[in-house]
Structures are given as structure tokens and as C-alpha cells.
């Protein structure tokens, strides 16, 4: 049946699904799949499987750790802030290779990627869900970040209420990353519509009143086959840059007038705190429990 195409072995199919296939072979696999719809849908099923594993188990990452699973339970205590700073999500997901891949993916579309102008966003014809997400996040930023009088629905002083509200509407626990260490304080947040789904926008500003926003959507489903799960992408036009990434059932975007490196550093700080459960300050320990320490 296949005359010109080189044969694809099963290992290569698996590697293709997992994004572990060298780019030169990807092309061959894609050509093969284009001609074999059955195999193509099998690959789609495998991908769905991984996505569903994430929607099923990623919440474990957010569960507060019981004392017996915490290092400080065995070894003295560290401040929660200090620990949060040190979670290192990005290195695990190896940011750089994906970044290159997706930047290429974005710019490979017909119109040469999408452009952001101060108030207008030009998009290529076929918009992927991730791109549409990026666009919504950017629009929300452009609309609310410059707003002097009503930038947010809930101010930082009502943080707790805001979290309850946003968590309820998004159907998932929303955490507010702490960005004081990089000089950004929380302004507040708001709920926004995004294609019939609720989205949350959190806003921060630095002492120069420069604002950045974090845009969050839950129940994120990546259905398009070409997009790897948990991807990280970057886009910019003029001064405004955007980093967006997908992690399990969540899609996040961080938008601000920063250079790429700064934006990534900030996104990393944000991502680390979002991926890992927020650990509340440990209550004063009166005595260490001996039971668990065995």
C-alpha cells in the first residue's frame, strides 16, 4: 500500500505521541498518518489518554502535603515563602526545547504568526485553541491593565473573597502567586468570560506602576493533535510580551511590557507556585510526632 513512504515502527509512533521523536522522523510519521486515518486516530487516542491522566491526577499536585510528607517535619523548619521560591517546575519540563518548537509552530502559520498591536490583534486564518486563548488573555490585558479607576473587580484587600469566588466559578482552586520578591504586588483580580467558560485575571504592579496580568482558564482541553501537552509559548509585539503555558487542565498566560527574558523569569516564578501546592506557614510545632518519624 505504501509505496514511497518509509515504514514507521511502533516505537516511533509512541515517540511521536510523546513528543520524543526527532524532528526529521516526525515529518515521516506525519506523512504516514495523513495517509492512514486509522493509525492517525489511534495516535489521537493515545494522546487523549495522556490528557485524561492529567485531568484525573494533576489535582494531587495541589493537595496540601500532610506533615509526614514534608521535609521540615523531619529536619527543622523552613519558611513557606522560601520553599515556594525554590520549587522548580520549568526545569522539569525543559522549557527551552519546547519554546523553540512552539515559537516555530506559531510563526509557521500562513500569515507569519500573529501580531499584537496596541489595541488590535491580527490573527492568521486558522486559530488553534491555544492561540485563541492567548488572544483572549492579551485582549483582557490590553483592556484592563491601563485602567486607572477600575482595573480589578476585587482589590488585593479582598483577596480571600476573590479566591473563593474565582475558585468556585472556575471549578478549581485558584492560587494567587506571590511576586513580592520580583517587586510585583497584587492589585486584584476579576472574572472574565472566555468562549462560554469563565476565566480569571489577576493583576500585579511594580513600584513604577507597571502592570502585568496572569490569565487563567480551567478545564482546558487540547484537542488539536499537533499541540503537545504542557507546552510553553512566547509571543510579543512592540512592548507587550506574552508567555502562555498549559499544565494539565489549566491554561495560563502571563502578559506584560517586559523583555522576553524578564517575562520568562516572572512566568517561572508564577508557574512554580501554581504547580506546587501552596504550603501555609507551619503552625508552631510543640513537639514532633514520633509516630511518623519511624
Amino acid at each position: 500500500m505504501t509505496t514511497r513512504q518509509t515504514s514507521i515502527d511502533e516505537d516511533e509512533f509512541q515517540a511521536f505521541v510523546d513528543g520524543q521523536l526527532p524532528p526529521e522522523r516526525c515529518r515521516a510519521v506525519m506523512a504516514y498518518l495523513a495517509a492512514h486515518p486509522d493509525e492517525s486516530s489511534r495516535m489521537g487516542d493515545y494522546r487523549t489518554l495522556s490528557e485524561e491522566l492529567h485531568s484525573l491526577y494533576d489535582e494531587v499536585l495541589y493537595e496540601p502535603l500532610p506533615a509526614r510528607l514534608r521535609v521540615d517535619h523531619y529536619r527543622g523548619r523552613t519558611s513557606w515563602r522560601d520553599r515556594l521560591q525554590r520549587w522548580f517546575g520549568f526545569s522539569v519540563f525543559s522549557l527551552t526545547p519546547r519554546l523553540v518548537g512552539l515559537a516555530a509552530l506559531l510563526s509557521a502559520s500562513a500569515t507569519g504568526g500573529w501580531l499584537l498591536h496596541s489595541n488590535q490583534i491580527v490573527l492568521p486564518e486558522a486559530e488553534t485553541p491555544a492561540m485563541s486563548f492567548a488572544r483572549q488573555a492579551t485582549s483582557a490585558h490590553l483592556v484592563y491593565a491601563p485602567d486607572v479607576r477600575h482595573p480589578v473587580e476585587f482589590g488585593a484587600d479582598q483577596e480571600e473573597n476573590m479566591l473563593l469566588w474565582l475558585s468556585e466559578r472556575l471549578g478549581a482552586t485558584v492560587h494567587v502567586p506571590r511576586l513580592q520578591d520580583i517587586n510585583f504586588t497584587l492589585v486584584g483580580g476579576r472574572l472574565l468570560p472566555a468562549e462560554g467558560e469563565p476565566a480569571a485575571q489577576l493583576m500585579y504592579e511594580d513600584p513604577q506602576a507597571q502592570r502585568i496580568t496572569l490569565y487563567i482558564r480551567s478545564r482546558w482541553k487540547t484537542s488539536n493533535a499537533g499541540q503537545p501537552e504542557r507546552s510553553v509559548s512566547y509571543a510579543a509585539e512592540g512592548k507587550v510580551g506574552l508567555v502562555y503555558w498549559i499544565e494539565g487542565p489549566f491554561a495560563y498566560a502571563l502578559i506584560g511590557a517586559m523583555d522576553r527574558e524578564q517575562l520568562f523569569a516572572t512566568a517561572e516564578t508564577v508557574q512554580q507556585q501554581l504547580t506546587m501546592p501552596v504550603i501555609p506557614p507551619a503552625p508552631e510545632q510543640t513537639a514532633t510526632t514520633e509516630k511518623d518519624a519511624t
Partner: protein, 184 residues
């Protein structure tokens, strides 16, 4: 400018702590039971801490911790079952694990149940790759098996799950696909 967090927690210990949520997610998916899986993670944490001096900086601490967890799990299993039974449990089964009666469609939320129907070696690989996003080499290192074995378990595991979950195109009217027929 805090160089170390102080309070007696070393840099390595901190790195170990960072792995806990992921170890926990994996253990939960592997064992299905929250208490047993936290027990396993706790054992891995304690062993990791007690051997933290053996970890070589610059190497992948996640793979190191997952290896520890896996070894503890294997030992626990050995204690639970007689050795012969254990081998039977762990050895790859040549055919699909799923009997025909289980091939009826399960709801999506039953993926957890479907996972538990997989032979454990396949489940481990499917989870380390599909959930933990590990590369095949690391998976081979963690489970101490050749990469080729990782690949075949991955394929078989995924294929079983796909059938259990009844993904894929619905059965054709031609009757070619009788996998889906209920057994009489």
C-alpha cells in the same frame, strides 16, 4: 540573598522536597489508594533524606527519587506476595490483559479503574511517560529495564487502555470489529 534556607534543611533536601508532589501524583495513580500511596511516598522521602549524601549534584534528582520509590515499592510487593507469585505479577504478559467482558465502554472517570486492570509493569510505564512526562531513557533507568522493554510495555499498556476505555471509531456495520460485541 539567602544562600541556604537555614533551619537545618540542606539544598539537596530541599530538592528532594520539591519532588514530593510529583511522587505523590505518580504513587496515587499507580496504587489507586491515597493512604497506601502516601505511605509509599513517605518511605521514599525518608530513604531519600537518609541517603541524600549519595545523590550526585547535577544529575536528575527526579529520576533518582522515582528510582528510590520504585525500589521500595518492589520490595513491599515482594513482602506481600510469595516470590513466585510476585514474579508472575511482574512478568510481562504476552497478550492483552483485558478479557472480553471488560471491553465494554467505561465512563471516562473510570480511567482510574481501567488503569488498575493493567498489569503493573505496563501501568508504571504508561504513567511515567504519559503522566510524569519522563523521557524513555529515564523511565528505563528508574525501572531498571532496557529501553526496548519500556517501549513494548508502553505500547501494550496504551493499547489495553484504549480498548478498555473504548476509544476509537465505533464498531463498523460490516461486523469486522467484533471486539465490541458483548459476550453471550
Amino acid at each position: 540573598m539567602t544562600k541556604s534556607g537555614g533551619n537545618g534543611v540542606s539544598e539537596t533536601e530541599r530538592k528532594i522536597a520539591e519532588q514530593i508532589p510529583r511522587l505523590r501524583r505518580y504513587a496515587r495513580a499507580l496504587l489507586g489508594d491515597p493512604v497506601r500511596s502516601d505511605d509509599l511516598v513517605q518511605e521514599a522521602l525518608l530513604r531519600g533524606l537518609s541517603r541524600s549524601h549519595l545523590w550526585q549534584p547535577g544529575t536528575d534528582i527526579r529520576a533518582w527519587m522515582f528510582t528510590i520509590l520504585h525500589n521500595i515499592h518492589v520490595n513491599n510487593q515482594r513482602q506481600r506476595y510469595a516470590r513466585a507469585e510476585y514474579q508472575e505479577l511482574v512478568d510481562d504478559q504476552p497478550e492483552m490483559a483485558s478479557p472480553a467482558t471488560q471491553e465494554q465502554s467505561l465512563a471516562i472517570r473510570d480511567l482510574a479503574r481501567a488503569l488498575q486492570l493493567l498489569p503493573e509493569p505496563q501501568r508504571q510505564v504508561v504513567l511515567l511517560v504519559g503522566l510524569e512526562g519522563m523521557n524513555y531513557k529515564s523511565v528505563a533507568a528508574v525501572l531498571e529495564i532496557p529501553v526496548g522493554t519500556v517501549m513494548s510495555r508502553l505500547h501494550r499498556g496504551r493499547e489495553s487502555l484504549r480498548r478498555l476505555m473504548a476509544y476509537g471509531p465505533p464498531a463498523t456495520a460490516s461486523g469486522q470489529d467484533n471486539r465490541r460485541q458483548m459476550s453471550p
